[in-house]
């Protein structure tokens, strides 16, 4: 086994202990919030009530339509300009941004899944005495879930990949810790080595994301075959 160069260990430790940890934490919180909000909005939009429909449609089209970096700009720079109480730290801004984007995407996927359930299912459950909530909770949503899960897994991958946007506002997620390491190694001694090793470090970042996301994309494709067809 050839010995690894001296710079590798501290850089890897920093990127994994600080960067990857922040990436995973941000992704996990955003995924939970986006799924919760998205599923509720996507179900509510199927109710034939014009005002709520228009509001949810607007929410979906705006947060799906804007480039995520623009949403991040609105959350991180726009909100504090309205009120100092709306000033958030970089990770909170990132989580809000990813939740807006993710929930809009998931709401649209949920709408499609819920509306794919035939009307007879609604009528039959109403005939059995279920109210709107019970009907959706026990009859419609469990069936819609089969259609929802494959795109949902794909969107979760999207949220994980997009956590790197937090790098843009300086949050120490995986990509930012990589950039910091590259900058440090590229500076002259005693701080750095005058060699940034960007190839190895950015390659490692790509590998880490690939290892997390590739199994999930395969899973989504497998579930698509199993659950939908």
């Amino acid at each position: 086994m050839p010995e690894l160069p001296d710079w590798v260990e501290p850089v890897a430790r920093y990127m994994l202990d600080v960067g990857l940890r922040n990436t995973l934490r941000t992704a996990a919180i955003s995924v939970v919030l986006a799924t919760g909000i998205g599923v509720v909005l996507g179900t509510l939009i199927t109710i034939r009530f014009r005002l709520s429909r228009a509001l949810i449609r607007g929410y979906i089209e705006i947060w799906r339509g804007l480039p995520i970096i623009v949403t991040l700009f609105i959350v991180h720079f726009g909100l504090p300009a309205l009120s100092p109480r709306l000033e958030f730290d970089v990770f909170t801004s990132g989580i809000i941004t990813l939740t807006l984007w993710g929930s809009a995407q998931i709401a649209e996927a949920t709408r499609g899944a819920v509306q794919s359930i035939p009307r007879e299912q609604h009528e039959a459950s109403s005939a059995l005495g279920f109210g709107w909530v019970g009907r959706h909770r026990y009859i419609i949503f469990p069936q819609a879930l089969r259609r929802l899960i494959p795109p949902l897994v794909g969107l979760i991958v999207g949220i994980i990949l997009n956590t790197t946007l937090i790098q843009v506002i300086g949050g120490s997620e995986l990509l930012e810790t990589a950039e910091q390491s590259i900058e440090r190694l590229g500076s002259p001694p005693p701080v750095g080595l005058l060699d940034p090793h960007a190839f190895e470090i950015l390659g490692a970042v790509a590998v880490v994301f690939f290892v997390i996301c590739f199994p999930l994309t395969r899973l989504a494709a497998y579930l698509e075959k199993r659950l939908v067809a």
């Binding site: 339509g65 970096i69 623009v70 309205l82 956590t163 940034p196 390659g203």
Partner: protein, 225 residues
């Protein structure tokens, strides 16, 4: 207190030229990337669907790597990592169009593969039975039908490509988002900037989405399929 007044008129009359130049770059890079990802998607999608040895496997690796790594990492990789190899030096503009093209090409490969594979086998057999060569079968049967099936999802990819050009901010390529960001850094007119960003990007994205619905209506395959 930073921004007490909201004056979109003054903001636009002061900065419209600068913003317009940024917008032009967004359109320019998007156009290159859309054309490039169309060509990549068509070629590699056909290679995947027809299981052309070696090329098909290489295309699969390319698609999975791009789809499962963040585009920001891809941009940084082209910009910071590739120049560590002797003889490779990419300027900002090259990284700008290349990164969004490679990304769009990977997603489009999947779109076209799915489209081509959705063409019923019996249609291709019919063409071969009529004496069409395999290449002629592709151009006369698989491409026109599969291309139509792939069209809505490929337009979706082009929309994503346009949105991704905003990420070129990280390499300071002065497209529209970067221009607006710079104006804001100078003026601290945050909500004027947000208004301009929102109106421009949503108009772009929503028009392209409307194009999908139009294409779906006009180019839908007859029921007989």
């Amino acid at each position: 207190m930073l921004a007490v007044t909201y004056d979109l008129g003054a903001y636009l009359s002061e900065h419209w030229e600068f913003l317009l130049r940024g917008f032009a770059r967004t359109i320019y890079v998007s156009a290159i990337a859309i054309a490039g990802s169309f060509v990549i998607g068509l070629l590699l999608g056909a290679a995947r669907a027809h299981r052309i040895p070696v090329l098909s496997q290489l295309a699969a690796v390319y698609v999975e790597v791009i789809r499962n790594t963040p585009i920001l990492v891809q941009i940084f990789f082209l910009y910071f990592a590739l120049p560590e190899w002797p003889g490779i030096r990419l300027d900002v503009f090259t990284v700008a169009w290349l990164s969004v093209t490679l990304w769009g090409g990977a997603f489009n490969t999947e779109n076209f593969r799915a489209g081509f594979e959705a063409v019923p086998q019996r249609l291709r057999e019919g063409a071969l039975a009529l004496g069409f060569s395999r290449v002629a079968t592709f151009f006369n049967v698989t491409l026109p039908i599969g291309g139509r099936i792939a069209l809505p999802s490929s337009i979706n990819t082009y929309i994503a490509v346009v949105k991704n050009t905003a990420l070129l901010y990280v390499i300071a390529y002065e497209e529209f988002y970067t221009s607006a960001y710079q104006v804001n850094a100078l003026e601290l007119a945050t909500w004027e900037t947000i208004t301009v960003l929102g109106v421009v990007y949503l108009t772009l994205v929503w028009s392209l989405s409307a194009l999908i619905r139009f294409a779906e209506g006009r180019l839908a395959l007859p029921e007989a399929f």
